[in-house]
Amino acid sequence: MRAMNKLKGLNRTARKNYLTYALVIAAYIILEAMMRGGGMKAATKGMLVPICAYIVMALSLNLTVGVMGELSLGHAGFMSVGAFCGTAATMCLRDSMPSAGLRLFIGIVIGAVAAAIIGFLIGIPVLRLRGDYLAIVTLAFGEIIKSLVGNVYMGIDQGHLKFSMFTNELNMSPEGKIIIEGAMGIRSIPKIATFTAGFILIMISLVVIFHMVGSRTGRAIMAIRDNYIAAESIGIPAFKYKITAFTISAAMAGAAGALFGNNYSSLIASKFNIDTSILVLVFVVLGGQGNMLGSIIAAAALTILPEALRGFADYRMLMYAVILIAVMLISNNAKIKDILKNIAEKRTAKQLAKGGASDE
């Protein structure tokens, strides 16, 4: 009873945050139970980790698009950096570290840190631009990362890492092992990513985002989004806060990439192209900008959808396209918007009336 009262006392944002945590935990428990009970098809099981990775990607992009209010069309680039660094790391540690869980943890941390560094460096020029120009430059950086990562060669030779760009001449001794092989990427990856790791990553991402949004940092970032001139007038350095948000967003995308990369037996750079960036953007827009629960649901549903439509084989991507257009047209329909606006206005009026009453 006291817990109920406490819940009622919270504001709407806090209630929604707790609902999001609760749903994610419930989904994890149910799916994990189904998996242990054997009531899950192998194909479904195989999709759990990618779904987690895409959910974290969607949360990461929602931080940039929804909370910060800037469009990024190159988010797959950060995922790529995280995937390659994180997967290469787990492969290098294979002999020296027997625990797969620990290796995965280190891989994800390395993926996140590497992507954060790249995100910070890219953010310095990019975040000085605005609107569509910012979007096109992120697209450009995404393509550049794809091209460069596709030309990296890396090997490990007696505990030393060797790098080269464009050629595979790594000058290694016969014991040396090549890990990243240019356009062919990484092969024979031991697939150590697990659903539990994905679940933990989602929870950490949620905590970071919710706690950030509920802090002075989050308020400052959203203030800049809503009106940067007013934000500067009250002493908020726009660039500093934007780069903070962008770096954190990149780190999350990197972590998602590391999880993703460690889930497949091979990994190539061209996987992380503009189509992947756009796919994640679609999750964010369909789920609602700034709405983290929406992003989670959209990412999960839209990753499953093409599989669920597999029965329609040739038509599935067509249906995906049609659904995408239809959702956009319906959700932006003027009449439906009017109805929703009326409901929101009534709620505000009620809140105002209630606030006025409590003053007396």
């Binding site: 569509d132 950086f141 393509e143 464009f166 040739d314 396209a321 932006n332």
Partner: protein, 291 residues
């Protein structure tokens, strides 16, 4: 091959980018939207021309006109059904819809014409001209010539005709244009029609030079042409022209002298540098917010 050769073929590729970029820039100028589906209209244009010319042996000129007609209608239909209802919607919703239309066109093409590449016969005889050491193919020269003609015609149209002036007025201020009695909806439709018609020409020229036609043929040139439009200053017609040509030349020279694998990276790198130095592109105007 000599430097001059690379330069000329770069100009030819750049001409194709310029023609596509014109469509992007006009639509952006007037509807303030990134029409991601523009690249796929190119692909449709190329398929129409392929069937008319290569399969059914129609006259090349008629084939191109047919491709333009189909794409013009397609552009108008897309605008009416998908973009017009979203005129008041947030720009991100329009962007996602455009992406949806792009997927739709690609997958319809996949369904009708399969993913097997079609070998596109050049609409221009496959011959070369020898200019004292410099060998230039007919299609290269033709592409550059077509681009110049389009540029001149379009500039005259925008500056001299009533419809062209209406387009400029709508891109400056939609509300004011409406008050002055300009039919905004028709003007936007016309802009899409012209952009899509140009896309058909670009598709034919592109496939005449690079004869592999698949449902995704338009995507990458589309993105690059979009880059070219931003490069030159999005919304600016001379900017799209300049941006397209420069992009083609940079890409070709990068392929020839640096590396084919990272030529795209170099192109995008140049774009980033240009935008950092000139945030509104080479010939774009920067809008200042009134405080």
């Amino acid at each position: 091959m000599s430097f001059l050769n690379y330069l000329v073929s770069g100009l030819s590729l750049g001409s194709v980018y310029a023609i596509i970029a014109l469509g992007y820039t006009m639509v952006y100028g007037i509807a303030k939207m990134l029409n991601f589906a523009h690249g796929d209209v190119i692909m449709v244009g190329a398929y129409v021309c392929f069937f008319a010319f290569t399969r059914y042996g129609l006259n090349p000129f008629i084939s191109v006109i047919l491709a333009m007609l189909v794409c013009t209608c397609l552009g108008i239909v897309i605008e009416k059904l998908a973009y017009k209802p979203l005129r008041a919607a947030p720009s991100l919703a329009v962007l996602i819809t455009a992406i949806g239309v792009s997927y739709l066109l690609q997958n319809l093409a996949l369904l009708f014409w399969s993913s097997n590449p079609k070998v596109f016969n050049s609409i221009i005889p496959n011959k070369s001209l020898d200019l004292g050491g410099l060998t230039v193919s007919y299609i290269t020269l033709f592409t550059i010539a077509v681009c110049i003609v389009i540029m001149i015609v379009l500039t005259t149209f925008i500056n001299k005709t009533k419809l062209g002036k209406a387009m400029r007025a709508v891109s400056e201020d939609k509300g004011a244009a409406q008050l002055m009695g300009i039919d905004v909806n028709t003007t936007i439709s016309v802009t899409f029609a012209i952009g899509s018609g140009l896309a058909a020409i670009a598709g034919v020229l592109l496939c005449s030079a690079y004869p592999n036609l698949t449902p995704t043929t338009g995507s990458m040139p589309g993105i690059k042409a979009f880059t070219a439009a931003v490069f030159g200053g999005i919304g600016s017609i001379p900017g799209a022209f300049l941006g397209g040509l420069m992009l083609g030349v940079i890409e070709n020279l990068a392929k020839a002298y640096i590396s084919t694998q990272i030529s795209d990276a170099i192109v995008f790198g140049v774009l980033i540098i240009v935008l950092l130095v000139k945030p509104a592109g080479l010939l774009g105007k920067r809008a200042q917010e009134k405080v």
